[in-house]
Amino acid sequence: MSEVTRQDGIIHVRPGGDIVASVAKDFKQELLSLLRDKPPELIIDMTGVGMVDSVGLGVLIAAFNTIRETGGKLVFMHASSEIQGLFRTMRLDKHFTIIC
């Protein structure tokens, strides 16, 4: 279960562990549940996330596509250089907002 905080309508989520196939189903439900409130921004704090596999990427992309439908923004913060590299390799950096 992720750590979730809210401030001025913006939702911060910190999964705190790897976003991989074994946790993907629960994490996806958690994100989609949070997105039902149609926040203007969902910030995923990647502190403690050492790995994202293809299933995990699918969850993040599903969240991106969902928030985009309501005009919101998905933001990643504190992603490791390796994970930022993975986003670039999979051409997701063109869509995701990534801040340090």
Binding site: V20, A21, S22, S54, V55, G58, N65, T89, M90, H95
Partner: protein
């Protein structure tokens, strides 16, 4: 057991380690993928190869995921066999499932899907992070080669 070899088994997960080689055999569950990854991290650490960890772990994860979910259809009675060798200038990863295989020649699996697709990136990841990606004729044995510039 030979000198320099260690191993253990608990029924659904068996591991054998010899110098330069890690072999794991496990039943097809996502939890066993995580166990195999933890053992791989220990193996990489004991061999002093931590700087390769992210790419190596990523492609092994994708290969194991492919074998469990697509090859063995997540049927826990089916087994995945995984070997990681680091003897030469390259890492060689071999992953075998008990599925029917697939026609890897005619599949555009190495293409990166567009943003509207939430799946189908596993092969593209393996291709991007590996020097070579090969399948056997049937399509149930995957071999990945990665540089091991010590």
């Amino acid at each position: 057991m030979n000198s320099g070899e260690s191993g253990r088994s608990d029924g659904s997960f068996a591991i054998s380690i010899t110098p330069g080689h890690l072999r794991i055999c496990f039943s097809s569950t996502l939890e066993n993928i995580d166990r195999a990854i933890e053992e791989t991290k220990k193996f990489i650490g004991s061999a002093g190869m931590e700087r390769h960890e992210f790419g190596l772990i990523l492609v092994v994860r994708e290969g194991l995921l492919n074998a469990v979910v697509h090859g063995n259809s997540s049927r826990c009675e089916k087994t995945v066999r995984y070997r990681l060798s680091s003897e030469s200038r390259f890492f060689e990863i071999e992953i075998e499932d008990e599925g029917e295989g697939f026609d890897w020649r005619s599949c555009g699996l190495l293409e990166i899907p567009g943003i509207t697709c939430v799946c189908g990136r596993g092969m593209a990841i393996m291709k991007s992070y590996s020097r070579d990606v090969r399948f056997n004729e049937k399509g149930n044995v995957l071999t990945l080669i990665m540089s091991n510039d010590r």
